[in-house]
Each structure stands twice: as structure tokens, then as C-alpha cells.
């Protein structure tokens, strides 16, 4: 792979939280301009969709190529984007408002509740709106051995939407970027080069493309990543419905190194997602053999048909843009642990709006695109704090009991303000910014209720166990 940057001078690393770096300010997209999108996942397709839609609004003719070698029509790793496959409640609503309706054959299952499992019991938290607003789906065409698929790929659906807007998909791997007279050229394996006015990088953190940009004079920085573990279990749909229903099951377990674990029902498969420090087979086995998992989903009655250990972005690059270059989605800045596809939409649309209305210089992106990245990054700092508090609650039995007691009581009473339920719902679904969740936990009524339940649980930790 090659990345040459002959006409650009290397500059010191600049944090995008600081003021934009002065550079060329007169770079704009003109009629007939060619734009490349590297990566045909949600971030790339959203960028192409919004760029072409907005350009049409101002009668600007653009040519957009999406470089994506994979076909999302393929089952297994060849057509997969390695993800748990949840579209958050807030994103489902925003997509609907943007005029993007998720078809029933793309959504594997509409999720209407979360069940939180702890050693002290389980509690089911219903969707506050009382309807199914979370989509469980496959980014590609389902796991290996998926057989005859009765569903469609989410990434494929979005890519078709972008193609419907006028984008062209180039089924070829980009092996490098060469800058000639300040113009980016995408290189292919055979050596062919294609010139573009603007390159949008939406290749995520599981491809080598982001690494190509590192240390080549762009001073963008490399995203910090964390490894996850995803496994697909196959079973018959009736069994999955009986065991898991239309609920996502999350686990607050005191297992060392385990940050978050979830089981997501999808048609004839159940997706298991583990997030933690150095996830290895030992940690996977500790989770699968825990009594909390055994009582809701006896794994020995199913078969694991597909596994992967993808990276996720936990901290974005210093500066996700340069002259004629912008990084969106996981390649740029994304939300910590949750709602990565929502962050892809937000960053892709902000980048497209900047390119159409403000220009494609580093300064334009710094002034009009960086604020959204800054907003997400700042919220992630709060999220990091919130997850450390959750970790603290996980470690002590009486605090787990307090969570179970308070949320169960809230769910039983239809007339009560479900403060803890709302906090847990938003933490686990990614439906609200972490800042708003923190704000909710600082409400005097929440603090009083939590203190009371902590005290009750500390005094009588063996009160009867509730079930969700």
C-alpha cells in the first residue's frame, strides 16, 4: 500500500479541539467536481446520500464514486462489516424524519425492551414510548452458513439509497493515495490512479486505510481502538422467541475485564457482543458459563456459527480533516461504545454540508465540521465517567441489588417517574447523549431514590429476588 504526499508539507499534530489550522481557504466544489468515498458502509453511504441531495438543492452537479470492494449481498465475513447490528432508538427516529424508512426485510427484529441480568435478579425495562423503536439487523447478509437469506443487508440498503441518488460504486480496493499538485489521486492494485477534488474516508478502523494516513504529513492522528468479540448462535426462531422475545438482553456481571455484554435476538440467530479489556477465550467462557447467561439463554442448546473480533473506535484522530480530505464515521470521531451508526450519520451529514456550502479546505472543515466532532468527543468523556460509575456499581452486590430493586419498582408502577429505568435505558441503548444521562442522575429525586435503595440493599441484601 502506498501513500505519497509530495506536494504537501508535514505539519505538527494539531488537536481538532483547537482552532482550525490556516491553509487554503478558497477550495470549493465546482460543477462537475469528482468526489471519492473510501468505504461503502453506513458512513460512506450517508455521506454520498447527503452530499448528492444537498448539491441538488443548490443545483451543483457532482460525480460521486464509492470505493467498496465487498458485496454486502454475501453471507459471512466477505460481506460483513463486523458489528453487533443495533440501530438505536434515536437514530430510527432521525432516519424516519430524514425520509429514510428501514424496510421490514432489513430489520431482523424490532426491539421493544431491554432485560438487564444480574446475579441478584433480572429486570425488564420497556421502551418508554411503548413501541418498537430499536432495530436489530445485519450489516452484511448475515452470518456464515446463513443459507437462503430472507433478509437484506443494512449496509447494502444504504448503499442502494446512495446509488439511487446518483453515486457510483467502484468494486475495487484502494491501495493508496498519491497527491499530485495538491490534488488527491486514489491508487488501485494495478497502479491505476483516479483524481478527485475531495476524498471522504469512511473506511472504519478495521481496514488499513486509516493507518495509511498516519505519519504521512497529514497530522491527523490515529484513532484509539479496543477489541470486541462477536459470536452468532444459530437456533430455530421459535426457541429464540421463547427465550429472548423482542428484548435485547444485557448483563451487569462482576467478571473481571468484562465491560459490557449483550445478547441480541435476530430471526434464526442470536448475536452475542462482548466488550472488555483484552477479550480472550477465557473471558468468553467465563461469560457463557455464568449462571445469569444459562438461565436466560442456554448456549449448549445452540451452535456458534460465526465469530469475529473487530476493533471499535474509542477515541478519534486529532484532526479528522485536511485540505480536500475528511474522515467520517469510525474513521473519524464516533460515540463511545454505543450508537456508532448514529454518529456515522451525524458526522457524514456535517461533512457533506460543509463540502457543499462552506468549502473543502482544512479551514472550512475546521470551522464547520470540527464542532460536531468536538461535541461527540466531549460527550464521550462524560460517557467514560458514566461507564466507570457503572463499573463501580457492578462490583458490589448491594449496589447491584439497589439497581434491581429501584428499577423493578419503577417498572411495576405505571404512575411513577421512571428515573433509573430511563438512565439505564439511555445508557444501554445509546438513545441520549451521555451528558443528558449524567444530568438525569443529578436530579435530587433520582439521588434520593438511589440513596434510599442503596441503604435498603445494604441493610437487607437478601430481600426477595424479582424477575424481569
Amino acid at each position: 500500500m502506498v501513500l505519497r504526499n509530495g506536494s504537501r508539507s508535514a505539519s505538527a499534530t494539531v488537536d481538532f479541539l483547537a482552532s482550525p489550522e490556516p491553509g487554503q481557504t478558497d477550495l470549493t466544489l465546482q460543477d462537475g467536481a469528482k468526489v471519492a468515498v473510501v468505504g461503502g458502509g453506513p458512513a460512506g453511504s450517508f455521506f454520498a446520500h447527503f452530499l448528492l441531495t444537498l448539491a441538488r438543492e443548490v443545483e451543483l452537479e457532482l460525480s460521486v464514486d464509492i470505493w467498496e470492494p465487498r458485496s454486502f449481498a454475501r453471507c459471512g465475513p466477505g460481506g460483513c462489516n463486523h458489528c453487533g447490528g443495533i440501530v438505536s432508538e434515536s437514530l430510527v427516529q432521525i432516519l424516519a424524519t430524514e425520509g429514510i424508512t428501514l424496510p421490514s426485510d432489513v430489520v431482523q427484529r424490532g426491539i421493544e425492551s431491554y432485560v438487564i441480568h444480574m446475579d441478584v435478579g433480572s429486570v425488564r425495562i420497556e421502551c418508554p414510548a411503548g413501541e418498537r423503536r430499536i432495530a436489530a439487523l445485519y450489516r452484511g447478509n448475515g452470518p456464515r452458513t446463513g443459507g437462503e437469506s430472507l433478509w437484506s443487508s443494512f449496509d447494502g440498503f444504504l448503499q442502494k439509497m446512495a446509488v439511487g441518488d446518483g453515486a457510483r460504486v467502484v468494486r475495487s480496493l484502494v491501495t493508496g493515495i498519491d497527491w499530485r499538485d495538491g490534488i488527491p489521486h486514489l491508487l488501485e492494485a494495478g497502479g491505476a490512479a483516479s483524481a478527485y477534488e475531495l476524498v471522504c474516508v469512511a473506511a472504519g478502523v478495521n481496514s488499513n486505510f486509516s493507518n495509511l494516513l498516519e505519519g504521512q504529513g497529514f497530522s491527523l492522528g490515529r484513532p484509539k481502538t479496543m477489541r470486541t468479540y462477536i459470536c452468532e448462535f444459530r437456533s430455530d426462531p421459535e426457541t429464540i422467541q421463547r427465550l429472548l422475545g423482542d428484548s435485547m438482553h444485557v448483563f451487569l456481571l462482576d467478571i473481571p475485564r468484562l465491560e459490557f455484554a449483550a445478547l441480541i435476538p435476530k430471526g434464526e440467530f442470536v448475536t452475542m457482543c462482548l466488550l472488555g479489556e483484552d477479550v480472550d477465550q477465557g473471558l468468553v467462557n467465563a461469560f457463557l458459563t455464568s449462571s445469569e447467561v444459562a438461565r436466560c439463554f442456554p448456549v449448549d442448546s445452540t451452535s456458534c456459527v460465526c465469530t469475529c473480533s473487530p476493533l471499535i473506535n474509542v477515541r478519534g484522530p486529532h484532526r479528522p480533516y485536511a485540505d480536500r480530505l475528511v474522515l467520517v464515521g469510525d474513521s473519524g470521531v464516533t460515540r463511545l461504545y454505543k450508537d456508532g451508526i448514529g454518529a456515522a450519520l451525524r458526522t457524514a451529514k456535517a461533512a457533506a454540508e460543509t463540502a457543499v456550502f462552506q468549502g473543502i479546505s482544512a479551514e472550512a472543515f475546521g470551522r464547520h465540521y470540527a464542532p460536531i466532532c468536538r461535541q461527540i468527543a466531549t460527550d464521550n468523556l462524560i460517557g467514560k465517567f458514566m461507564f466507570s460509575v457503572t463499573r463501580g456499581f457492578k462490583h458490589a452486590r448491594f449496589s447491584r441489588k439497589a439497581i434491581e430493586r429501584m428499577s423493578s419498582l419503577e417498572q411495576e408502577r405505571s404512575d411513577s417517574r421512571r428515573r433509573l429505568s430511563s438512565v439505564l435505558w439511555n445508557m444501554f441503548t445509546g438513545s441520549a447523549p451521555y451528558g443528558e444521562i449524567l444530568n438525569d442522575t443529578l436530579h435530587p429525586a433520582f439521588l434520593a431514590g438511589m440513596t434510599w435503595n442503596l441503604a435498603r440493599s445494604a441493610v437487607s441484601p437478601h430481600r426477595e429476588t424479582r424477575s424481569g
Binding site: 424516519a96 424524519t97 424496510p103 426485510d105 430489520v107 424490532g110 414510548a129 418498537r132 451529514k349 437478601h462
Partner: protein
């Protein structure tokens, strides 16, 4: 401590007893079922996911159909921008599936991306034009 028993989940049914497809989002409404009622307070708007709904205005003696909204269209958006009661009744025209959009979620996103409001403005503009056309015809 007694462990929680293994829970069994029933097949999904919506509030009117219809079975929803696994991949369907939102809520199902059967033919003529009221989704929002004129005069009642509201704090969300709705996007039609499948089927059609009709918008009705008036009282028990004189009700007029203002519009029919199909999949992809939305209604109840006035509740997002003002704290007034619903200005019309909306009910399902045949079985339909509708998704709620929370005021807070939408306003948070519009604050971040004002262009999102363009979709709403376009529809509102078209409705005003239609209403003006209807008034001209009445004269």
C-alpha cells in the same frame, strides 16, 4: 438467594391484538383507529411507516377530511414547535404502522443540524399551498 426463573416470551402483539412482523418498527393501528385526537395535548410527531392515515378536522356533527398521508409522510409536527393541543384528529385508513418521534430527540437533532428542519418545512409549505388552493376553490 433464589435465581430468577427462565422467562418465556410470548409472540409479539400490538395493543389492538394484531401480530406484527418481526422486522416491523413502530406500532400497528387497525382501520379507523385514532392515533391522535383533536384537542388533546401532544409532545411528539409521527412518521407513517406502512399504510395510510387520514387527517380529520371538525366536531361530531361536521367532520372534514383534510389530507391522506402515506408511508414516509409525517403528521403531528405542530406539537414539536408549539405547546398547543392537537389541531386535528388522525386515524388509520386501513391497517397502518406508525412510528413516534419524540420532541426532545427531534429538537436536539435540529439544534445540531438545522437542515433537518428543511424536510418539515417542505411538507408544511406544501400543506399551506394545498390549503390556500382549497380556499380559492371554495370561493
Amino acid at each position: 438467594m433464589e435465581p430468577s426463573p427462565q422467562r418465556s416470551f410470548a409472540a409479539p402483539r400490538d395493543k389492538v391484538g394484531m401480530t406484527m412482523a418481526k422486522g416491523a418498527l413502530g406500532a400497528l393501528y387497525k382501520d379507523k383507529e385514532v392515533i391522535v385526537r383533536q384537542g388533546e395535548p401532544g409532545d411528539c410527531m409521527y412518521v407513517v411507516q406502512a399504510g395510510q392515515v387520514e387527517v380529520l378536522h371538525g366536531d361530531s356533527e361536521n367532520t372534514q377530511r383534510l389530507a391522506v398521508i402515506s408511508a414516509g409522510g409525517f403528521f403531528g409536527e405542530m406539537a414539536i414547535f408549539e405547546s398547543e393541543v392537537r389541531s386535528a384528529t388522525v386515524r388509520a385508513l386501513g391497517d397502518s404502522r406508525v412510528l413516534k418521534v419524540d420532541k426532545k430527540t427531534l429538537l436536539r437533532r435540529i439544534r445540531e443540524d438545522p437542515l433537518l428542519a428543511l424536510n418539515l418545512l417542505r411538507t408544511l409549505s406544501a400543506r399551506l399551498r394545498d390549503a390556500a388552493g382549497d380556499e380559492d376553490q371554495t370561493r
